[in-house]
Amino acid sequence: MMPLSGGTRLAAAGARAVTEDSLRNTNRADRATSAIFLALLLLGVGVAMMGLAAILIWALVEGAPRLGIELLTNGPSTVRPEQAGFRTSIIGSLMVVGGVLVLIVPIGVGAAIYLEEYADRNRWWNRLIELNIQNLAGVPSIVFGILGLAFIVRGPLSLGFVAVAGSLTLALLVLPTVIIASREAIRAVPPSIREGSLALGATRWQTVRRQVLPAALPGVLTGVILSIARATGEAAPLLLVGAVTFVTFDPDFFTGAYSTLPVQIYNYSSRPQAEFRVLAIAGVTVMLGLVLLMNSFAVWLRNRYEQSW
């Protein structure tokens, strides 16, 4: 280094220190903003999680006084909330959701197979179907209730306010979800598998049936379970197709009044007495248990079979 005079050396050292310090300062400021930003992000995620936790804990704590087997086995009552239960509406839910399952599996998977394996994208009608399904997925559930009221309960089908009308309405509601999820699963099966099968002389349907569908099964199943979970918790469209009646006897699928668990919960919650509110919250706990079980199973299934080809 060049020999420098004392003053110059001091000036150089000062310049160096100031520069370094200012650099470090911007660094520190940057780091602070980064930390604040990350904290904000974590806060956002945290609030969402806390919301979920709050709902679950609230339902468990507030519903606890009524949680017990008689909640499931006792029928509903308008006068004795301390003894009323959800028996008829749970049976109603099982029927309605069972009907939904029977309807959506063949139709939803069938439509998905058609769109992924058979349809020619260049044809306008196939693109129309595709766009249409995307749009249907966004139609509010209550509008499906209106459709159910006008076409299934009355109008062309005229089934009346029965459980099968509820099944049909909910099936139409969740069908787009099943189709979209199944298509995703079918699309994830690599073309080489189809080509191999076709090259060995299998027909198109044999290829779908023996190669594509088994490989896509976990994905399809995930979509179906999520849709069933949604149908189990859905209440709005059922208000319009007759599920609000107070049913004191076990319902029948094709004749007579019915109710479902979420609609019965809504029904109890709109009564002024505090006992009915506790009853409604206990019902929420049961429903959440069912729905969360299904959802967790679907998530587990997806993670378990997440396949990379």
Partner: protein, 318 residues
């Protein structure tokens, strides 16, 4: 493409065509094709049915109630003897819910999305994403009751200086709807941000940007169409939400933006009115469908917009 073409296309037609032709007509294959096509076609039938079932009674409705008294009047009292059919109170009721819901869902949803896409490790992601999906799966009746019996009293305790004159509160209902649509915003925005190519991020880091700058100035603008789509879709969900609103916001048609008041939304009107056995062909019945049509048109417009936007970010990077 005809069925036989499809059957043949897999086996290839490069060599002598006759020998590769199917030896039998394969009626089974054709029947299956027809069944599958019918399944797909059902969705079009459903949409057409929705449109028809909404339109016919709506036309009847407008034969009895003029367009101007529907869109220009500001009093909604359809079931009274001197019925007033000004739709604004219930449209504004819906708007109230959407505003509060988006005020909650946009910051929380986007924060979660940025965190998941840019900051979270694979392990954290594998835990957080399913939890958000489970939140998305909570039935709306449960969220409505939670809002009505827990959030509403809690809000009164937290903000005692507001005037809580009603048991119902549109602000609280909107916040609950917001919580419900957080996963929707988060998951679509997360997808959009993950679709932004890695090279763009690396370019940013190479120029000396830190994670914050890469997230906000490169990934966020790059994914903006998907992010906007997620917000539009969330808005559409909030417009169509019924149970939370019915339980927590009440049924009083109220032309107000006061968050502590009870309002009626379009969905709550439909859900609250149609529960009885309303005879077909009456004005009450037709009114339901007129409101239903308005609701359908609003959500359809939002959904079409969102689908367009999503297609745009897919096209940009895939």
């Amino acid at each position: 493409m005809s069925t036989s073409d499809i059957a043949a296309s897999g086996s290839g037609t490069m060599f002598s065509r006759r020998s590769l032709e199917a030896s039998s007509p394969r009626y089974g294959e054709k029947a299956i094709y027809v069944f599958l096509a019918l399944c797909a076609l059902l969705s079009v039938v459903v949409t057409s049915s929705i449109v028809v079932s909404l339109l016919l009674p709506t036309i009847d409705f407008f034969r009895q109630v003029s367009l101007s008294s529907f869109f220009l009047d500001t009093v909604w009292a359809p079931r009274q003897a001197t019925g007033r059919f000004g739709v604004w109170p219930i449209v504004v009721g819906t708007l109230n819910i959407v505003i509060w819901a988006l005020l909650v869902a946009i910051p929380i949803g986007l924060a979660s999305a940025i965190y998941l896409a840019e900051y979270a490790s694979t392990r954290v992601r594998r835990i957080v994403k399913p939890i958000l999906e489970i939140l998305a799966g909570i039935p709306t009746v449960a969220i409505g009751l939670f809002a009505f019996l827990f959030l509403r009293p809690a809000a009164e305790r937290a903000l005692p200086f507001l005037e809580w004159s009603s048991l119902f509160s549109v602000g609280v209902a909107g916040v609950a709807v917001g919580l419900m649509i957080v996963p929707l915003v988060a998951s679509i925005s997360d997808d959009a941000m993950r679709a932004v190519p890695r090279a763009l991020r690396e370019g940013g880091y190479g120029l000396g940007a830190n994670k914050l700058k890469v997230s906000l100035r490169i990934v966020f603008p790059g994914a903006i169409s998907g992010i906007v789509a997620s917000i539009v879709l969330a808005g559409s969900r909030a417009v169509g939400e019924t149970m939370v609103v019915l339980i927590a916001a009440g049924r009083t048609p109220n032309l107000t933006f006061n968050p502590t008041q009870s309002v009626q939304t379009m969905t709550a009107y439909i859900g609250g009115t149609a529960t009885g056995d309303i005879p077909t062909g009456t004005l009450d019945y037709d009114t339901l469908f007129a409101v239903g049509t308005l609701l359908f048109v609003m959500t359809l417009a939002l959904n079409v917009l969102a689908i367009r936007l999503v297609q745009r970010f897919r096209e940009a990077y895939e």
